[in-house]
């Protein structure tokens, strides 16, 4: 077998691939089932953006916390939230990660360090600062990571958090997942600065921009930033330039996109394809190994959907529980 030119060993490469593939199949399946009318509510798919979640989360442990966005499925899966519980949640079942009370936009699992998807743009940034503060106060070497879209990077809560993290020298990391659009509006119009490195500099933060469809670029940049944060070196901003395979939410006709745009990015900027080609070409992982994972993932998703559909709905009494610890 050839030498491994990658910064991850074979096990971790397989793990990263499995994460990305799981996210992809999860989302592709939701896309189909949503169109069938099986799934209620707003659903925002992460398909196409998997390398960001995987490249970052490969560095994290359960005591590292992340605060996610409305487009949170990928972050959940990469952070280790149970896929069965996620699917059941999206189907509004009592076996869901949030017992059916949260839905797609609010999946959380604090035991895994996943502080929640969030329906409010920018809201995760202060929360991640809080996680970073808790880690700092306890001295446990943990980090707090906030994900934010290009659109949400104009939200006051996010901007304030950059300054707060810098002033308090928190082990906080701000990942801007730049997929070029906020709903239908172009990033290049709505974000007045060309480079997120400049925006970070405006708050005294180091900023790094990477090709978010390149798992290895994300992995290496994130690794460096996370290591520095753990060692007390303070916060940073990481921009991942990426692509969104589907609409803003399911049901979006996407007429604001260029003709052929989606086909083009699917052909040339599919982060999973790019990853697979690299590891196969390097001779480190075989196509058969990846295909075996593909199959396992498909089975997992199929099983999760089946389980979700047959899982019990929340009992009426659930309406009134879980508001307070005690009242």
């Amino acid at each position: 077998m050839t030498e491994n030119p990658f910064p991850l060993d074979r096990d971790d490469l397989l793990k990263a691939y499995r994460i990305m593939r799981t996210i992809r199949e999860f989302e592709e399946r939701l896309h189909i089932d949503f169109a069938k009318g099986d799934i209620p509510g707003f659903v925002h798919l992460y398909a196409g953006e998997e390398a960001s979640a995987a490249g970052i989360m490969m560095h994290l442990k359960d005591n590292d916390r992340i605060a996610s966005t409305h487009r949170g499925h990928g972050h959940c899966i990469a952070k280790g939230v149970d896929v069965h519980e996620m699917m059941a949640e999206i189907y509004g079942r009592s076996t869901g990660a949030c017992r059916g009370k949260g839905g797609s936009m609010h999946i959380a699992d604090l035991s895994k360090g996943m502080m929640g998807a969030n329906g409010i743009l920018g809201a995760g940034a202060p929360l991640a600062c809080g996680a970073a503060l808790a880690a700092k106060v306890r001295g446990d070497g943990g980090v707090g990571i906030s994900f934010v879209g290009d659109g949400a990077s104009n939200q006051g809560m996010f901007l304030e958090s950059l300054n707060l993290a810098a002033v308090w020298n928190l082990p906080a990391i701000f990942v801007v997942e730049n997929n070029g659009y906020a709903e239908s509006t172009a990033r290049d119009w709505a974000v007045a600065v060309d480079s997120y490195i400049d925006r970070a500099s405006g708050f005294g933060l180091p900023g790094v921009t990477v090709d978010g469809t390149d798992f290895f670029a994300v992995y290496e940049a994130a690794g460096e930033i996370i290591r520095r944060a753990r060692e007390g070196g303070g916060p940073a901003l990481l921009e991942c330039n990426m692509v969104r395979f589907y609409g803003h939410f399911e049901g979006d006709a996407q007429t604001y996109r260029a003709k052929g745009e989606v086909e083009a990015i699917r052909a040339s900027r599919d982060c999973i394809k790019i990853f697979a080609e690299r590891v196969i070409e390097a001779g480190v992982i075989s196509r058969a190994e990846l295909e075996a994972i593909d199959k396992e993932v498909l089975d997992l998703i199929e099983d999760a959907v089946r389980a979700a559909k047959s899982a019990p709905l929340p009992a009426p009494a659930e309406l009134l529980t879980d508001v307070y610890v005690a009242y």
Binding site: G119, Q155, G156, W189
Partner: protein
């Protein structure tokens, strides 16, 4: 000439008419045009649910997409209003008020008073309210009580297309800040709406159904549940008078009190949470000012003191329904003193 159009179309039409009539009307919000800066079609969205669709083609740059910065653009609308424009700013979901409330309640609402009557702030903030869309806790709130509590803003919440058109036109012409609440689950509901322009004055409730036995007061979506309840009650020979408040601030106390003086019984229905709600507001006012007329305690039917759940089975229980309203009406008809204490968890 009246045709059947949906509440969504009625709102679009009101904006269109006022933009045509008055060049100082501008409209802004996130993706209210859609596709700004993007490579595809222009006017690609017309708002997240298509309410402003087509207006950009007609009115051009007087409709403006915004970056995702609610404090900045809602505040800009307010600032522009003090400079003579009549901006209509869309806050996509009322739930987002938490990121821009200062501009609404400390700025727009207080300018006139703080400045000794020397400012006018004719701004309209349109926002979707209400549950039933399976949109979970952060996209389904009512929050009307919070705005109604604040002196200096007016609060409007229509229950149908006809009212939506007339009240939005009034809101745009009004010289005070108006929070215009659009129930997302009413967007598709059609009714007869004249094509012409007309304004419905604020502070005039609508009596949707006459009845002498019990008064049911509500606004927004639950007006329809109240009407269903009234029909169910009619089968039991109980005639309910149903009042649609239409505007919560100002509020039409006269119509409510006059009705209660005739029926002696009142049910207030509110999709908001129970504490410090529109329901408690109306119940308390009537209890203070028409106590002598009341033959039974005022019954409140509200959403429970819990966030809006995602799961459809729970969400359907969350919104006050016709059965609960009819039950409350029946309680007012039972001998007094028997009503159980009722405030959900």
């Amino acid at each position: 000439m009246a045709r059947k159009i949906s509440m969504k179309q009625a709102i679009n039409e009101a904006l269109d008419l006022e933009m045509t009539r008055d060049p100082s009307v501008i409209v802004m919000g996130e993706d209210i045009v859609g596709g700004t800066g993007s490579p595809g079609e222009d006017d690609a969205w017309g708002g997240v649910l298509g309410v402003t669709k087509g207006l950009h083609a007609k009115h051009g740059n007087r409709l403006m997409d915004t970056p995702l910065s609610e404090s900045a653009y809602i505040g800009a609308a307010i600032g522009a209003a003090t400079c003579g424009l009549r901006p209509v700013a869309e806050l996509m979901f009322i739930d987002f008020m938490g990121v821009c409330f200062d501009q609404i309640f400390n700025q727009a609402a207080k300018f006139r008073y703080m400045f000794g009557g020397k400012a006018e702030t004719p701004v309209v903030i349109r926002a979707m309210v209400g549950a039933g869309f399976r949109a979970a806790a952060q996209h389904s709130q009512m929050l009307t009580p919070i705005f109604t509590h604040i002196p200096g803003v007016k609060v409007v919440c229509p229950s149908n297309a006809y009212d939506a058109k007339g009240l939005l036109i009034q809101s745009i012409r009004d010289n005070d800040p108006v929070i215009f609440c659009e129930h997302k689950n009413l967007y598709g509901l059609e009714c007869d709406v004249p094509a012409e322009s007309y304004a419905i004055p604020f502070g005039e409730a609508n009596v949707l159904r006459d009845g002498g036995d019990v008064t049911i007061v509500s606004y927004g979506l639950t007006v329809h549940r109240a009407m269903e309840a009234a029909e169910a009650l009619a089968k039991d020979k109980v005639e309910a008078e149903v009042i649609d408040l239409r505007t919560l601030s100002p509020i039409d106390w006269d119509t409510v009190i006059d009705s209660v003086e005739r029926t002696g019984r009142l049910v207030v229905v509110d999709e908001a949470h129970p504490r410090c709600s529109i329901a408690s507001d109306v119940a308390a006012f009537v209890g203070q000012n028409a106590f002598g007329a009341l033959k039974a305690g005022v019954q409140m039917v509200t959403a429970p003191h819990v966030p809006v759940p995602f799961s459809p089975v729970l969400e359907d229980l969350y919104i006050p329904n016709a059965a609960a309203i009819a039950d409350a009406a029946r309680r007012t008809l039972a001998p007094t003193g028997t009503s159980p204490r009722s405030i959900a968890a």
